[in-house]
Each structure stands twice: as structure tokens, then as C-alpha cells.
Symmetry: C4
Subunit: 263 residues, 4 copies
């Protein structure tokens, strides 16, 4: 087998015969995560100060490796009959996206403002990982969430209504006492979100007796607000996994049959 | 088809043939949400100051559109045989409610005190949305919650008892040290609610060793207090969705049968 | 029917023919809750000061009514063949408990120290309510929790281990920097409980980088700690309600059969 | 029966005929927990100061008892045919581990630095308890978690992505205003973890309007982040317990059949 053919089997999941991610793709994922980590650490002055050259060298090295990976993928793309020549691969959405992320890293290597653009790199990890064993789990979770999207949307609508009502109550009750924190409904909403999600930073809180009564009611209702989507998702996952297992059983009736005979 | 008949099919869900909300009703919902948003933003001094005329103009415009919508609904109501003439529609609870919300907006346009009355407008969104695809989801969620109302009531009763016991304990232990925060049972309840709901603002907390032991017990029990209604709701949703799917299957036995054949 | 017989049917659930609580027992429950509420409000100096006589009068009145209720229960006890004369009823554990709670209220009417003893009164509400429709729900919830007691015990054991490990880590890392908050493992436990339960008062928190890394790990593990008992309880409730419904179906096979035909 | 044979039946679970833990093993577990508790309390200066000799005596006493237990286990090991003489037992991993924990306690008795090593002692409790009735529960919980490891891994991956995105947003928005708290992405991550887990210490929080909008979105997404693993675990536990019950039923078909006849 030629080197090109071997590399193609390593890098192109469509040509891979064994299940799971190939060692080369694991390495690429690791490379992207490492590049991400370096970009995160670089923003910390205590780490960057005095090590600017080191960070720049690491960035150039990692970007060079990603560029090399891109070049190799272009080179071996002719092994995959799905692409009609290397130009067809270069024009494919996946390859264009890969090139863009490399250009983004190059363009933002000298500053930290472009960090958010770099997050796009992580989508590559997602794309590669989807081809591994996470693919089925991803589909199951996505299908479960999608199957209850209307019910979850209803929960969000209830949450929004509750947010509005509790903000308005606290604005009316506490607005005059703490104008800085509750002087308008948008301001009271900051408190309301912190309370309904049970985060409770404690930077703003009611001080009047009536305000505390409404705050207590808001906090208690917030529990229901968490319990409702949790309950909906729990039931959705239960159904999705049952369906998945039933499908697996039809394909391979020998396994698990005894366990399901009673149910 | 006349303009009146066309408008009737757009505005009156009972006359609509296609499923879901009509474009006109989507627009009305959007209008109500926009009016709500303007009313919320208007309470913020940083936004209102210097823009009083702008806000007033927007309010008048939005209220005018809602009044126009009301007038059109009255005009086209004769297309629906359920109403015996326009006066019958005007007297119907839905139309009376619509008129009231418009009058409330007019009456409170010049101040912020009437904000809570305006929330009634959102009930219109709920009424319109109930006719769309949210209707079934709403029924399923409501039925699930209703089917476990006794168990959820029991959870609330336990929560109340726990609130009382933990407040009393902290009042006895911390009352003398922090009279401002724990000097009476109602005062200690503010701390107790913040702890049991795991909000934990941090404006009040025990400082004695014994107080912290009781607070730790309260916080740990609070987890069970959240887990119990969540578990009850999860099981209720699971049952409700299963029943709904079973009902859908009876009506349309062709679909999903394969998935359920094993279970 | 004599007055005594009528009162017996009202007060003694064993003699009542209709389901649910009798109006008289609802009134008794209300009386106890009112007495509880007065006792709670009485501890608040802002409410008590200047109203000592009023509170005392209300306490005497409520206690008088409870004493009257006790006397009536003794009087009508001969209607229930289960008691061999009034002395047998007076000696029964329920009646002794009732008398004790009245004596506790009398003994503590002039101070607030005995408040915790008064909580025993609420057990009477529980005892009366157990005879109503809450009885089945209470049994279902209790059975569900009991059926998973070993698994829930395991969760508690994991939580305890996690509490110990995270406290020990923070004690080692932050102990020297913040001796007041993390200077010993028992002190670090106060922070650990607040973090694992996601209460997060914010009175103590790590300030070193390493301390924050361990705290982040603790907080993330805390989510699993809440998810585990919630998941266990959700599955327990699901099973318990299914069993309860199946039992109800066997007794009354006409209802709900269609819904369960598919499953 | 000789004393050695009797002790062997008490200490070696493989020789025990009755189910559950033997009284002697309960005592050993209690001994380990007591030694742990003493080690925890010893770190608190308020308790240790002036009681150094007492703590040292208790430590020596407890360690002596654990050493005695080890010696007895070696002595009675010949009763178990699985070990080919006492030396075989001493060389077994379990016995080596037991000896190591005793040596650790001895080595660290005079300081508090070795506390973490002592936590290894608790693994002995786990090992002994696994042989009791907790064993089945432990297996069920572990199997349930393992069966959903890919889905739970996906949740963790989503959580990590969310952590990264929200930290990056807050760093960009609040970094200039609060450089101490949001001046780099790693610093913003401390806030992000506290928010996503809903702990919310309140030591850092956004102060700008835009920062609060992103923080609110983060907190709301954090609810989904808790709901997802909870839902996955709930469905996993439900399946695991159902399978366990079905297995129990096959072995002992007489019980619970009526309950499962409908399902």
C-alpha cells in the first residue's frame, strides 16, 4: 500500500474500515484542543508577561501543524472517489471551513480580540468526533431534546413570564428603597434571573419585608422552573434510549432478549 | 373571496383550515410582545430620560394598532356563525378582555404604576398561542402536573415543615448573636428560604459553629426537597407522553408501530 | 341522630362514611395552623412590641378552642366501639399526645423558648391529614423512597466522601492563606457544604489559583451529587406510580384499560 | 468450634453464612470512621490546643486496635482454604493495603500534612461494605452510570464548550472594567464555573449591562446543563432497576408477579 493510500485511511473517516476514530484523527483533535488551551492561557497577563516570544513560537508551531494537516488532506483527497480531483476537495464546505480556521488563527496570533473567532476551531473537533462512537450518543441526545422541543419551549415561555412578573413586583416594592438595583424593570431582571436560576450572587437582594416575601415566592417557583425541564428531559431520554435499544435488538436479536422478555 | 372573509380566516382560528397560527395572528402576538417590551424598557431612567416623547409616540402607535386589530375582529366576526351578529362578539368574554387590555394600556400610558395591569395583555398571547401547536404540549404538561397534584402538594407541605423547623433552629441558635438577621422566626425564614432553594444570596448566614451545623443539615435536606418534585414531575411527564403517544398510535396505527413492538 | 353521634361522625374519621376530611377536622387543622402562625409571628419584636396583651389573648383563645376540641373528642369517644369507655380513649396514645400538645402550648405561652416543642402540634395535622386523600399519596412517596433506600444511602455515602476529600484539599491549599475560613478541616467543611449543595453563600471562597481549581472541581462534582439522588428518586416514583396504577386497574378493570393496551 | 474458627467466620466475609455484615466487621468499619473523625477534628486548633496529649493517646489507641485487627486477620487466615498459609494472606493485595494504611496512620500521627494519605483508610470501609447488602446497590448504580457514559461524556463536553464560550464573552465585555476578576479567560472561568453550577458565591459578578445580559444567558443555560445529566441518569437508573427486578423475578418467579402482570 502506498504512503498516500495509508494516510488517506488514517485521515479520511469514509475510507477507514475499523470503527472509532483513527490515531491520526485523535492526534488532530488533540492538536486543536492544545491550540485552544494555548489561546486561553495567553490571555492571562501573569502567564504571558515575559513569555510573549514563547507563546508566539508555540502558536506558530501549532498553526504550522494544522496547515500541514490541511495540505496532507488535500494531497490524499484523490484516494476518496467522492471527490473528483483535489480541486473538488478544496472547494468542499469542510475543506473551506478548515482553511478558514487556520487563517483566523494566523490573523489573530498577535492579539486577543479575535479569540471568539478561534472558537470556530472547536467545531472541527465536533465534526471529527461525530464520526466516532459519540455520533450515536449525539444523535440520541439531540433526538430526545428535539422530540420535546415544544414542551421545552413552553417551559421557556413560563420562565419568561415568571421573570417578567417577579421583576415587575420587585421593581414596584423595592424600586424606591434601592433605586440602583431595582429602579427599573430591566434592572430588577438581573436580580430575578439570579434568583430563578438559584445562582444568587448576592450583589442585589431585597431588604424590605414585602420584597423578601415576593423574593421567597420567586425562589420557590424557581425550583419548579428547574424541575419542569429536568422532568421533561428525563422522560425524553428514557424514551429515546428505549427506542434505540429496541432498534439495536431488532438488528441483533440474540442479545439482551432475556432482559426484555418480562417488560 | 371577499376581503372580510379572507381577514376572518386570518384572524379567527376557528375558521382557519391549515394547522398552526396564521401569519396575522403571529403578527398580533409580535405586536403584544413589542408593546410589553416597550413598557419594560420605559421604566429604565437611563433609557427614558430625554426620550419621553419617543416612548409616548411608540406607545400610542402600538395601542392604535391593537385598537385597529380589535375593530377588524369586530368587523369580521359576522363571518363566524358561532356569533349571532357583531354585538354578540363584542359581548363575548374574549372580546371584552381584549377591549379591557387596550383601555388599560391607554390609562397607564403616562405612568409606570399600572405596569402590572398591562401584564394581562400577555394572557392574550397565551389565548392565541393555545390555538396553535402549543395547545397539545400545554395540555400534556398541565395534565402531567395535575395528575400528581397530591404528591406535589405533599412536597410543598414537607418543604413548609422543613422551612419552619430550620428557621426555628437558627432563631434559637443564632438569634442572640445576629438579632438583625435571626432575631425572630420570620426573619430566620428569609435565610431559610434562600438556603433550601439553594439560592444562597449570602446577605445572611450563620456564624456560630452550631448554627453552621444546622445550616449544613438544612442545605443538604434542601437537595432532597428539589429532587422530590423533580422526580415526581419526571415520572408524571413520562406517563403523560406515553399515554399521548399511545393515543396518537390508536388513531394512526401505521406509524411508530415498529418502535413499540418490543416494549 | 343525637348531637353526640353527629359530632362523633364529624370528629372521628373511623366513623365517617364519606371520603376525605370532614368539615370539623378541616377546622381543627386550620386551628392548629393558625396557632402555629401566631407562635411564629409572636417571635418578631417589631410585631410583638406593644401588642403583648393581644397576642396573649389570641393564644389563650386558640388554646381554649383546642382544649374544647379535646373535651368533645373525649365526650364522643363512646360512640366508637373501638374504645371501651371514655377512660380507654383518654389512655390511647393519640389522646395522650393531643393532651400533651395542649399542655405544651399552655406551658410556653409566656415565652418563646418552648417554640420547638410546639412544633409537635404539627404532627397532629399530619395524623389527621393522613386519614384524608393525602394518605395514598403519602404511602406512594414513602414507598418509593423506601424502595431505593440503599441506593440513596450510597449517594449520601458518596456525598460524605466528597465532602471530606474537598474539605481536606481546600484545607491544605487555602489553610495558610485564609486561616479563619480554611484553617482546619471542620472549618473548610462549611465552605464545602455550601459549594456541594450549590447554595454558595459567598462568605468564604478560595482566593488562590489552585484553590479555585479544586473549588471548581468540587462545584462540578456537586452537580452529579444532585443529579444522582434526583435520578434515583425519579425512577423510584415512576415505578411506584406504575405499580399503584396497576393495582387500581386490577380492582377496577373498566378504566384506563385502553391507555395501557399498547404498553 | 475453636476461637480461631469463630473469629474467622466473623472477620472473613467469604466464610460467613448469614447475609450482611458480621458484627465484628461493623465494629471494624466503626473503628475506621472513628479514626477518620479524630483525624478531622485534630486539624481544628480550637479543639487541639491544650488537648495534644489526649488526641495523641486516642490516635495511638485506635491505631493499636487496627493493628490488632490486622494481626487477628493474619492469625485466622489459615481457616480460609483460599489462602495457602498465613504468608499467602500477608502477600494478598487486600492485606498489603491494610498494612499500608496502618503504617500511614503511624507515619502521620504527629502532623496534619499526611491527612490525604489517611483517606485511603476509607477505601477499606468501601471494600468491607461492598460485601454487605450495599454490594448490589453499588453494582446497580455503577452499571447505570457506565451504561450512559458516552451520553454523560457528551454532557461534560457541552459543559466545557459552554464554559469556554461564556468565559470568553465575559472576558471581552468585562475585562477592561474589572481586570482583577475578568482580565483573562482563565480568570473569567472562575466566575463561569460558579454561575454554570448555580453556586454563585458572589465574589465576582458582571457590572456592565452587556455583561449582565451574557451572564443571564449563561445562568439560564446552566439550568439545561444540570437538567441534561439529571435526565440521563434518571433514565439510566430507571432502566437499571427494571433490569435488576426482572432478573430477580426470573430467579424467584413467585413474588411481584402480580405487580408486573399488566406492564
Amino acid at each position: 500500500m502506498s504512503v498516500r493510500s495509508m494516510l488517506a485511511r488514517q485521515l479520511d473517516p469514509a475510507l477507514r474500515e475499523a470503527p472509532g476514530l483513527s490515531p491520526a484523527n485523535w492526534a488532530v483533535c488533540g492538536l486543536i484542543v492544545a491550540a485552544m488551551l494555548v489561546a486561553v492561557l495567553e490571555t492571562e497577563p501573569a502567564l504571558r508577561t515575559g513569555r510573549e516570544t514563547l507563546f508566539l513560537a508555540v502558536e506558530i508551531g501549532l498553526t504550522g501543524l494544522l496547515a500541514l494537516e490541511y495540505a496532507v488532506r488535500v494531497w490524499v483527497s484523490v484516494e476518496n472517489p467522492a471527490y473528483d480531483g483535489r480541486l473538488a476537495y478544496v472547494r468542499s464546505p469542510a475543506a473551506v471551513f478548515d482553511l478558514l480556521t487556520i487563517l483566523v488563527v494566523l490573523a489573530t496570533a498577535f492579539g486577543t480580540e479575535g479569540f471568539l473567532l478561534r472558537l470556530a476551531m472547536l467545531l472541527r473537533v465536533l465534526r471529527i468526533a461525530r464520526l466516532g462512537r459519540f455520533s450515536k450518543a449525539f444523535d440520541a441526545v439531540a433526538a430526545a431534546v428535539a422530540s420535546r422541543s415544544t414542551e421545552l419551549g413552553l417551559s421557556v415561555a413560563f420562565a419568561g413570564l415568571l421573570l417578567l412578573v417577579s421583576s415587575a413586583m420587585l421593581y414596584l416594592v423595592e424600586g424606591a428603597v434601592q433605586p440602583e438595583s431595582f429602579g427599573s424593570i430591566p434592572r430588577a431582571m438581573w436580580w430575578s434571573v439570579a434568583t430563578l436560576t438559584t445562582v444568587g450572587y448576592g450583589d442585589v437582594f431585597p431588604v424590605t419585608a414585602l420584597g423578601r416575601v415576593f423574593a421567597a415566592l420567586t425562589a420557590i417557583t424557581g425550583i419548579g422552573l428547574i424541575a419542569m425541564p429536568t422532568g421533561i428531559l428525563a422522560s425524553a431520554f428514557s424514551d429515546a434510549f428505549q427506542a434505540q435499544r429496541a432498534a439495536a435488538e431488532r438488528q441483533d436479536p440474540g442479545t439482551e432478549t432475556s432482559e426484555r422478555a418480562e417488560s
